[in-house]
């Protein structure tokens, strides 16, 4: 019999099924797919090859450099631009998710106008512009333009536009650093946000500044912070504040100060430094001492609940480590006396000699044009008086983000004609009479000057999406001006305006190149940057020092803080960010109130129970999150949720806590006071959900997140191998060099260590296998890696994750979702434990809230690619197996969905497709058009009934190996980066080849701090963790 005629059992069954199916459906054959080629292929463009465009992230004022990855004309991913002076290669979660702003299915499809009944109806651009022209022409002189902090040419256009129309231009950002700028103006004569150089600091004191999440330039600061913490010798970080934020969780010590007490602490520390003569020598020491003389440690203790001894200890440590850095911001800098508080911190930095060292005035954040809240109020006033006839809004959402007491919405309603230049119908656009769809930053040319000396390019990664009839905002503004009769000075198109602006820069930076060459080279690099000389600063004097008083009658201080994922609310329309577990509470798709367990007990609520919060301005009900990281007299609520518009993903989730704010402003800068209210908390009425991905934050004795005291590390570094358990391994296996030869088998881990348990001690609860720990070291496997079926393996891919660098920011989680087509499944699914993330950040609170050390540990957890993987042995269909290069692989088309592998995985890193998240006809479809444009064509979109998990980005490995083959060389170390590694602002994740003894991952995996999670299970993972260095702050 010839081979083709033999029917195997499987094929027979398939045929049988096919026949029955065919009979049932009337023998229909599926329609053939069509292949549509280019009409004319763009130059140097090949289908199947990714192209990268350097651009700038526009999700916040920081303006990190990004590389935009494009495949077949679609932008599919953002990565940090390693050459950009701001971010140097990292990118935060919000930056990654800007893709979902581009592909938001609820983006505006065409211009829309409100008819008489208030319903939207679509109009053409011509009609819309004609109408706008008429209205703006009439409203000249009584016109206002509100934008976000666009900077660069677009800002110049907007400012000029408003001036030409005889109107006002307001740059609105909810977190505008107004108090910080005002404090710096009064104390240093420069109204700027300084550049905080964390990398140079040897001791950091944060007074409320969430510098790893939302304050300043988080990616750059995280990078500097990790650099500071990489040294074993110093780099202590003390966080001060009534709430322990994500940033605070990284601190060695948390000073749970009374809300509003930060100023007194800073002044008290300054006084100790001055009186004890610890600080930098300074001529005006006497004058400075006069300012702080009232703040003796004992007075400070009374005002702040920080013991006098602690004040002295902090001051001595702060002055002793040079340079040190005190940075204030966040909630502490948003009270009614925040300028005084920030001036006090400036004073502390002055007496410690940090100005010009760690508090630098060179590469300062560009928020120069951002309007103060006084300007917002002025606009509200003029709108309310009917002195504004036309309002144009772009990029800002003041109706949502201005606290209700200021009355923006009501005043806006009095404006005769309101236009929004928006991508989505947010709260502000919804109140307008006309909305004009504008293009997203990823499909628009532009530029941004996000920091001093940084001229960053915003390069479109693709042509504008065809389903949205949108125009670049620059073009829309120019067209509106021309229609209104005040646009004579503008060129026809925004691109010409932009080019004209860059001709000016060409003259400064061209260096003899012609403009086209200069332009092309600048585009390729992502911008141009010059060394920014420092602004001259000197101590001028301090404003009057006074502590804020909270309003209202409750017994709890209300702390509102910007959410690390949603920021001021602009992230809420992006499902990746909604589904990103909050780094503190691990909650998703909603908002909550953080309340101390004791306080919660007092009002009788448990985790997830409804809490009613009342201030004099209003009340909300929120699920309780019991958190020892808030003071007993404080409750904290994240901002960013509670949208009433802004698309399907944002609308109707959680509450907008801004409604709780009574009217309050900083008395010097006029900034909105977010820390101003007392609140009452009681048990709420309606049951609500607090959906969390990690139900408990204690690791018991499982030793998942390990630390090494800095003293032990110092001891090992200096050669004496005492202190750290786990070093017996090397002695047991001979010299470290011999281990390098057989890395798959003989890497030391806890399983090879002689266990020293006292008689009768029990195994850890999870060690339920037959493996009985005993004193004899379990030897390496008999078959060395150089023999057997994997003898020809060229690589052993592995990862080393430095827990000392991981800040828990969760950028990697979103990067992984983007790279690997991971669906978002929504709160209902997550409640049932069906989240699909391939990587999660586990949070373990070892010691939070007690006086003394603070110990929160973050562990990025993904498939460990075990050498002895428990999942592989239980798969009945061989869908998960070990590949020759050490990867634990998952073959989707082979998986039949028994889920045995997930049951047997001790790390719980496998995700099962309970539903068809990829099928458009299903209710669970996770990629409604055009979100599906974002899908990575190199990765299979998994279907229902299939198990999936981290692949160590095997598609990137294959690409890297292919590139090396093309060039006829071996793969270089560091050439292949996984998505999580690439996005990590602190470079905590290192990927590479363990068979290369010189690779970075080999060195780290054999280093002093290495360990394997659940190593006693003998799974011998490919992911090695490096213990967090535990410092003593005292």
């Amino acid at each position: 019999m010839s081979e083709s005629v033999v029917l195997q059992r499987r094929e027979f069954l398939k045929l049988l099924g096919l026949g029955v199916a065919g009979a049932a459906t009337g023998c229909a054959t599926p329609p053939a797919d069509r292949l549509i080629p280019y009409l004319v292929a763009p130059n140097d463009t090949l289908p199947g090859v990714p192209y990268w465009y350097a651009s700038t992230c526009r999700e916040c004022s920081a303006g990190c450099g990004v590389l935009v990855k494009q495949r077949e004309g679609r932008v599919i991913k953002l990565e940090g631009n390693p050459e950009h002076p701001v971010s140097r290669g990292g990118l935060c979660a919000r930056g990654h998710a800007s893709l979902q702003g581009l592909y938001d299915p609820d983006r505006l499809k065409s211009p829309m106008m409100k008819d008489a009944s208030g319903a939207w109806k679509a109009v053409s651009w011509d009609e819309a512009l004609k109408l706008t022209g008429e209205k703006l022409g009439v409203a000249r002189g009584k016109l206002a333009l509100v934008t976000d902090n666009a900077t660069g040419s677009l800002h110049k256009l907007a400012a000029g536009w408003a001036a030409a129309a005889g109107g006002t231009h307001l740059v609105y950002e909810p977190f505008a650093y107004e108090s910080l700028r005002e404090a710096n103006r009064r104390t240093f004569g420069q109204a700027v946000v300084p550049h905080f150089d964390f990398a140079r600091a040897r001791y950091v004191l944060s007074l409320g500044a969430d510098f790893l999440e939302t304050f300043g330039s988080p990616v750059a600061q995280a990078r500097g912070f990790a650099a500071m913490r990489s040294g074993a010798a110093d780099g202590v970080f003390v966080a001060v504040g009534p709430r322990l934020s994500l940033t605070g969780a990284n601190a060695d010590e948390w000073i749970a100060i009374r809300p509003g007490g930060e100023m007194a602490l800073a002044l008290g520390m300054a006084r100790v430094i001055l009186t004890e003569g610890l600080g930098a020598a300074s001529g005006d020491r006497g004058a400075l001492l006069d300012l702080v003389s009232a703040y003796t440690p004992e007075t400070v203790a009374e005002q702040t609940d920080v013991p006098a001894e602690t004040v002295k200890r902090l001051a001595r440590a702060f002055a002793g480590a040079r340079p040190s850095l005190a940075v204030a911001g966040g909630i502490a800098a948003q009270s009614e006396r925040s300028v005084a508080m920030l001036a006090a911190v400036n004073l502390l930095n002055v007496v410690a000699g940090n100005i010009g060292e760690t508090v630098r005035f060179d590469r300062i954040l560009n928020v120069d044009a951002v309007g103060s809240f006084a300007e917002v109020q002025q606009l509200i006033g003029t709108m309310g008086d009917g002195r504004i006839d036309a309002l144009v809004v772009h990029g800002a959402n003041p109706v949502y983000a201005v606290p209700a007491w200021a009355g923006f919405a009501a005043a806006m309603d009095k404006v005769i004609f309101k236009v929004a230049l928006a991508t989505t119908l947010d709260e502000t656009a919804e109140r307008c009479d006309l909305v004009l769809p504008v293009t997203h930053a990823l499909e628009t040319a532009g530029d941004a000057q996000t920091a001093r000396g940084v001229y960053s390019m915003v390069q479109p990664g693709m042509q504008k999406l065809p389903m949205f009839d949108a125009r670049p905002v620059g073009d829309a503004l120019i067209a509106m001006a021309k229609a209104g009769g005040f646009g004579g000075q503008y060129p026809a198109a925004w691109s010409d305006y932009l080019a004209a602006e860059w001709r000016g820069l060409h003259q400064r930076f061209g260096g003899g190149r012609d403009f086209d060459t200069f332009w092309a080279e600048t585009l390729r690099r992502g911008g141009l940057w010059e060394d920014a000389g420092a602004l001259p600063v000197r101590w001028i004097g301090a404003p009057a020092f006074a502590a804020p008083e909270l309003k209202g009658t409750g017994d709890l201080a209300l702390v509102l803080y910007p959410s690390p994922a949603l920021f001021d609310g602009r992230g809420a329309n992006k499902p990746w960010l909604q589904e990103l577990p909050d780094p503190t509470t691990k909650a998703v798709w909603g908002s909550w109130v953080e309340i101390h367990p004791e306080t919660a007990g007092r009002i009788g609520v448990a985790m997830g129970d409804p809490v009613r919060i009342e201030t004099e301005a209003g009340s909300v009900e929120l699920p309780a999150y019991l958190y020892a990281g808030v003071r007993k007299d404080t409750i904290a609520v994240p901002l960013g949720q509670g949208h009433t518009a802004y698309g399907r993903y944002a609308t109707g989730r959680g509450v907008n806590a801004l409604n709780l704010l009574p009217p309050a402003q900083d008395d010097a800068s006029g900034a909105v006071a977010y820390l101003c209210a007392r609140a009452k908390a009681s048990r709420g009425a309606k049951a609500m959900d607090l959906v969390r991905t990690q139900p408990h934050l204690h690791q018991a004795d499982s030793e998942i997140a390990q630390v090494i005291p800095v003293t032990s590390l110092m001891a090992t570094l200096t050669g004496s191998h005492g202190g750290e358990a786990g070093h017996g391994a090397e002695a047991a296996h001979g010299a470290p060099g011999s281990m390098m030869l057989h890395p798959m088998q003989s890497r030391p881990g806890r399983y090879t260590e002689p266990l020293e348990r006292s008689p009768g001690a029990k195994n850890p609860a999870h060690a339920v296998s037959a493996y009985e720990p005993h004193e004899v070291v379990r030897g390496p496997r008999q078959v060395p890696v150089s023999e057997g079926s994997y003898a020809h393996a060229q690589h052993r891919w592995a990862m080393a994750i430095d827990l000392n660098s991981c800040t828990g920011c969760s950028s990697c989680v979103v990067a992984c979702s983007a790279e690997n087509n991971i669906p978002t499944v929504g709160p209902e699914m997550i409640k049932r434990g069906r989240e699909m993330h391939w990587i999660r950040i586990e949070r373990f609170e070892e010691k939070v809230g007690d006086p003394g050390a603070n110990d929160v540990r973050f562990v990025p957890m993904m498939c460990q690619h075990c050498s002895d993987a428990p999942c592989e042995t239980v798969c009945p269909v061989y869908a998960t197996y070990h590949n020759p290069e050490g990867l634990n692989a998952q073959v989707y088309n082979r998986c039949v969905g028994t889920r045995y592998c997930s049951n047997n995985c001790p790390y719980k890193v496998r995700a099962f497709n309970f539903f068809d998240y990829a099928a458009p006809e299903k209710e669970t479809f996770a990629f409604p058009e055009p979100l599906n444009w974002q899908l990575n064509p190199d990765v299979t979109v998994r279907s229902k009934g299939v198990m999936e998990k981290c692949t160590m980005c095997v598609q990137r490995i294959l690409e890297g190996k292919g590139n090396a083959k093309d060039e006829g060389r071996a793969v270089r170390d560091g050439e292949i980066q996984t998505a999580c590694q690439q996005s990590c602002p602190t470079q905590a994740i290192v990927f590479g080849d363990l068979l290369d003894p010189e690779s970075n991952v080999s060195k780290l995996s054999h280093g002093d701090r290495r360990y394997w999670v659940l190593g006693e299970l003998n799974t011998r993972p490919g992911v090695t963790y490096l213990k967090k260095i535990q410092r003593e702050s005292a």
Binding site: L16, G19, C27, I36, P37, L46, G48, A889, Y892, T940
Partner: protein
């Protein structure tokens, strides 16, 4: 009674299997003819008679995972002048002048869970004909190989020990 039921069941099953088998044979017979394309493009003329290199039109095959379908502009590179009087070329010119692209019917289709890389195979010296058959002899392009996994692996197995381009048997190389 039971025997009759069993016999009935067997009969029904056999009937279904026969239908299935004939259907699958039909499909394979059909595919040997190849689908009708919007323009009756002949590989026999271009690749065979004229001896054009495959990579002249499918220029992505050695540079990309995807061997591209040539842009219409590539066709028009010659057909602005060549054979402009032929009816099929006129069709092409019609598309070009209307600014449209012919909706070619896909002949070689891989499921979404298979990631095939043309570049790697071309660079390893695998001839186009190995998978795509003698296209230069086909007037109407038809599927020359099953594209089933067993068929892929039959070749990969033979190349395992190739000195320069050892083939892989690793599942994730294609399924990821």
């Amino acid at each position: 009674m039971n025997r009759a039921l069993a016999a009935l069941l067997i009969l029904v099953t056999l009937a279904a299997a026969t239908v299935a088998l004939s259907q699958s044979l039909n499909i394979s017979l059909l595919s040997s003819k190849g689908p009708q394309q919007p323009i009756a493009f002949s590989h026999k003329i271009h690749a065979g008679k004229l001896g054009m290199d495959c990579l002249y039109c499918h220029y992505g095959a050695d540079k990309s995972t995807i061997a591209n379908i040539p842009p219409v502009s590539v066709c028009m590179g010659c057909h602005k002048l060549a054979s402009t009087d032929r009816p099929e070329v006129k069709k092409l010119i019609g598309y070009w002048e209307r600014g449209e692209t012919p909706p070619w019917v896909e002949v070689y289709r891989l499921p979404d869970h298979v990631k095939f890389n043309h570049k790697r195979h071309v660079k390893a010296g695998v001839e186009c004909q190995k998978c795509h058959g003698k296209a230069e002899e086909m007037d109407v392009l038809s599927q020359a190989s099953s594209l089933k996994m067993g068929w892929c692996l039959s070749c990969h197995r033979q190349q395992l020990d190739d000195k320069n381009f050892p083939a892989t048997m690793d599942c994730v190389s294609c399924h990821h």
